[in-house]
Amino acid sequence: MFYRENGQFKSSYRADLALFPIAQDRWAMLALMAICFVAVPMLVSDYAFRAVLIPFLILSLAAIGLNILVGYCGQISLGTGAFMAVGAYAAYNLQVRIDGMPLVLSILGGGVAAMALGVVFGIPSLRIRGLYLAVATLAAQFFIDWFTNRVKWVTNDSPSGSVGVRSLEMLGYEFSTPVQKYLLCLCFVVVFGMLAKNLVRGAIGREWMAMRDMDVAAAVIGIRPVYAKLTAFAVSSFIVGVAGALWGFVHLGAWEPAAFGIEKSFQLLFMIIIGGLGSIAGCFFGAAFIVLLPLLLNYVPHWLGLPISTATASHLEHMIFGALIVFFLIVEPHGLARLWSTARQKLRLWPFPH
């Protein structure tokens, strides 16, 4: 009833190509921004920021990065954790070794380092495809795991192998409370989310999608596979690297190599598959699902008052998590984003569908 676009005429190409062509979408987006930037910081508790909102934002950012590679360009990657690690360690080194390095610059520097690695590990994708490539990207994961564990220079010769960031400071302003950290992450997510959205609907995004759908045919119509695949790897790992730097700096504060292990890679892949491959909005749904589900599974026995030992609870959690993943893949293989778009289609006609 409220969500329909008749009467909204586009009189210029600019209007036709707008990011949100429907007025209701624009208003909804503005309202969402207002809620995120104004209402949430005023209403939500510190615990919720630390345990839910900050991880959610950072993981959605990483999921956007991964979705560009897997969902849009069709190159399955199981090495996302490694790119996050590179982002985090590079940002850490920039911060430690250069005096007075602005926070944002070192985080972006982490992204650039991850991008360089992404391009290197993207080169095999020109020859190897599909599941072979997926397994091959595990090489990046295990190599970086080993590298960050063994090479002392990376961790600034820290004896335990774990590194920490003392304070998040930029131009004399310190991000210390959870609210400030949340706003910092939110800014990154909004900026990169917009960038990603615009990239994937532009020329380069169409090249990626052509690559994904059939690379031989794409090459025949004049898309350079080298350029398309490597740019996808570059953009994807840049965003993942930035997310990794944020994860280390803002969420963890102090971390060791295990923080970016193979579980993280699988977790991110779960996010984009449950959220929806080839959809930016899906990344947020997927991240919310993966962040909230374990918390929920943790709390349910408490609410029901069941006396379960921690070991049993964690095994049960494993089982339920796995079963839910399979269930979701069965009922909606295209992810939550598809449900969302179906709902919107329905809403356009509601309440007179005929």
Binding site: Y132, L138, F142, L316, G322, I325, P333
Partner: protein
């Protein structure tokens, strides 16, 4: 020279185990097109079932015989794996027909979670022993050829023989039986097989059961060497480079790939490791596989990948 050969043999023995796990992958991938990330979890589940049942049966039925306990434990564990195969087909695969490879891959990760959690929930999460009476004492061979001879582990030799026997048995099963022929038909072409009346669902149950049995054997060998615990499921991570090195669709490839990776890993750790700080076992296999793939994108023995437009 003696030391080199010892390392080589050590590598071959480890490689045999990798090959066993990889074999499970290849069988399942060929017949159902699923890249089965749950293979490691299946090894853990099978080994846990074997360890616990062979411990429980003597308590339940009050007998002493070790052999009987092991045989009963093996049968019970095998039945467990068949049940797992049936459940996987019934609740997951059947509903995911025609989905993309990556969706199936994610589904097996979910199954791996269920098996990990379920196995430890039912059978407990401590470290358990599997004792099937393999001799632990080392032996010396070829003493007249080299000075000091070669130190080999009898246990490893028995394990290698068991693995080889299993492979031979599987080959016979695939080549000589009616079911084996149906399995090969499904592996070649799902649609064609279905159209001549081969029931896909039943074939999947069979092939997942066979995969489960292979996992059981791998789990027993691994478990009797090092004990059964959660870390056993990580052996699957070692088997991934093996399968892509050998080719996702090739049984001989899985075996040869396993041996290559096992030997390469050990030799590189000893002769290359000291120069770069050690611990390179973990990624060497992957880099080796990656290097081979750059030359042959389908692995050593995989079906050639043909692009059709």
């Amino acid at each position: 020279m003696g030391f080199f050969l010892e390392t080589l043999f050590g590598g071959l023995m480890v490689g045999m185990l990798y090959a066993l796990v990889a074999l499970g992958f290849v069988l399942i991938f060929k017949a159902s097109g699923v890249f089965n990330f749950a293979q490691g979890a299946m090894v853990l589940f099978a080994a846990l079932a074997m360890a616990r049942f062979s411990e429980w049966f003597p308590q339940w039925f009050h007998f002493e015989s070790k052999l009987l306990a092991n045989v009963l434990g093996f049968v019970a564990a095998a039945l467990c794996m068949v049940a797992v195969a049936w459940a996987v087909e019934r609740f997951a695969l059947r509903r995911l027909v025609n989905q993309e490879g990556i969706t199936l891959l994610m589904a097996t990760l979910g199954i791996a979670n269920v098996l990990d959690g379920g196995g430890q929930l039912i059978f407990g999460s401590a470290t358990y022993k599997i004792d099937i009476g393999m001799p632990k004492d080392p032996m010396l061979v070829l003493e007249n050829v080299f000075e000091g001879g070669l130190l080999l582990n009898k246990e490893d030799l028995y394990a290698a023989v068991a693995a080889a026997a299993l492979v031979a048995l599987l080959t016979l099963f695939f080549q000589k039986t009616r079911t084996g022929r149906a399995l090969r038909a499904v592996a070649d072409d799902h649609q064609a097989a279905q159209s001549i009346g081969i029931p896909l669902g039943r074939i999947w149950v069979i092939v997942w059961s066979v995969g489960g049995l292979v996992a059981l054997v791998a789990g027993i060998i691994w478990g009797s060497k090092l004990g059964v615990q959660y870390s056993i499921s990580l052996v699957a991570l070692k088997a991934f480079p093996v399968v892509i090195l050998g080719g996702l669709t090739s049984v001989p490839g899985a075996i040869l790939g396993g041996l290559i990776i096992g030997v390469g890993e050990k030799l590189s750790e000893i002769y290359l490791g000291p120069y770069v700080g050690g611990g390179i076992e973990n990624w060497f296999a992957y880099v080796l596989a990656l290097a081979v793939l750059l030359i042959r994108p389908q692995g050593l023995f995989g079906d050639k990948i043909i692009d059709r437009v």
